[in-house]
Symmetry: C2
Subunit: 285 residues, 2 copies
């Protein structure tokens, strides 16, 4: 190892206690990111001394990010009073709140987001699939293509992607027609499901084999007549909305891409048709 570190201490100086490397965050706290392997017997006293120092500095929250290869250090952090904040496949984030006052650390992500795609062709047929897995497996129920919106993915992009993946059909995003919020669908997490209308741009179905048993264009009346759609209030409400939309009797929320001063893009979804009346139509995409 090169780069000899000079720790030669002159006699009579105050003993320097080694601390964990940390950076300050924007809320009066510190962030520690352990990147090098460390023995837990070395880590534990370092962490204890560091907390003591941060307490003297009146720091608030401590964020400790432990990559999965340093799982050996978790137990020491928990013994020191850390709790879990969130985890991703390859790391665990732990937190420790130093002040006596109530913890104001932000909550973990709380929702999963999904889409269902209403895709209708010019002869009033809707694009439907039968799934190989899940609750509809083997039921013969024809349903809209659905899927999960990935972290970092726009809802409108996810709808286009899922339709393409499951059926091979190219589409253009039109509107969010409705959304449903439900709870405890998945561990303790909540769920937001967006019903999206898309316009088909191709018509030959190439179904995906891994998840999809069958895919077809089906008359919207046949889709709605399915006992499952009739019986389940949520499905029948969504079917009514789609039918109204297909008759041009319904306006949903259209996406409008906006860029902040710092260059960050985001989509605002709103009733674009109504807003045209107040002269904002020139700003819509």
């Amino acid at each position: 190892m090169s780069g000899a570190k000079q720790l030669a201490m002159p006699e009579n100086t105050i003993e320097q206690v080694e601390l964990l490397t940390s950076v300050n965050d924007a809320h009066g706290g510190v962030i520690v990111n352990i990147e090098q392997p460390m023995d837990s017997g070395v880590f534990a006293p370092l962490l204890k001394a560091s907390i003591s120092e941060w307490r003297n500095q009146e720091k608030k929250g401590v964020w400790l990010k432990l990559p999965i290869e340093h799982a050996n250090l978790i137990e020491s952090a928990v013994k020191e009073g850390f709790r879990y904040h969130h985890a991703e496949p390859n790391y665990l984030m732990l937190v420790y709140w130093i002040p006596e006052t109530a913890d104001t650390l932000p909550a973990n992500a709380s929702h999963r987001v999904g889409i269902g795609a209403f895709v209708m062709n010019s002869t009033r047929e809707v694009l439907v699939v039968q799934e190989k897995n899940g609750r509809f497996k083997g039921t013969g129920v024809w349903k809209f293509p659905t899927g999960v919106v990935d972290e970092g993915e726009d809802i409108c992009a996810a709808a286009i992607r899922e339709v393409k993946e499951e059926t091979g059909i190219e589409t253009e995003f039109v509107e969010v027609l409705a959304f449903r919020q439900s709870h405890k669908s998945y561990f303790s997490k909540s769920d937001l499901f967006f019903v999206c209308m898309l316009q088909p741009r191709s018509f030959d179905i190439q179904k995906q084999n891994l998840e999809i048993e069958a895919a077809q264009w089906m008359s919207v009346e046949d889709y709605i007549a399915q006992p499952f759609v009739q019986k389940q209030e949520l499905f029948s409400s969504v079917a009514k909305i789609c039918l109204a939309k297909s008759n041009k009797d319904y306006v949903g929320f259209s996406p409008y891409c906006s860029t902040t001063s710092s260059g960050k893009r985001s989509f605002l979804y709103f009733n674009n048709q109504d807003l045209k009346h107040i002269g904002a139509s020139d700003k819509q995409q």
Copy 2:
């Protein structure tokens, strides 16, 4: 490879290998919930033997839930090939995918959800606050009350709660006027922010002291005239939508409470006004 499996066993003995207690999930996998303290030296061979047995049984995903008090077992699980799935303050969920095929385990929660509340009284004044912390601290900007939707909390309930907490004002939920999806707002997570309209049911402001510097009723024109609102495209778009709504020129999505056959409640948000035209108005709340 032919079918018959031969397990060479000494005659007259059936070796009993102790395994972890597991329950089957609905997707061909197993769930292990460690509830009793265990030494990691005991746990590691048990886990190894259990995986081997699950592999023989052609199980797919293994979910291992470790309460924080059993943090001592994480390292063994990681060494055995587990990765993190998600964490909550008091537990870590690890997963292991047994088959050779691609992992189809569901993703972790991906979004945080927030609300902004547009509350206008009969003299066209909007309820606004100045915050003690965050990006608007000390800027003099008056903004709508905002807040985070808790896990398990309905968007409409969260909007009512936040307005009450920050200003003491009682409200009734009317509509979601628009929503914005943005990314990487918080670690790698995405963000969904719902702009909600609420009708005030009380008028005397009792501001909360911890987070709120000031709260008042302000003419909607003065709110919109703020340089910050004018300059930021997202804020000016939202202001236009709110203004259109206050002039009754805009329809958003209203919540409709639906209950599944299994008794699970959820809210569907949609353009209720348009749907009335197709005779569904009797079903709205």
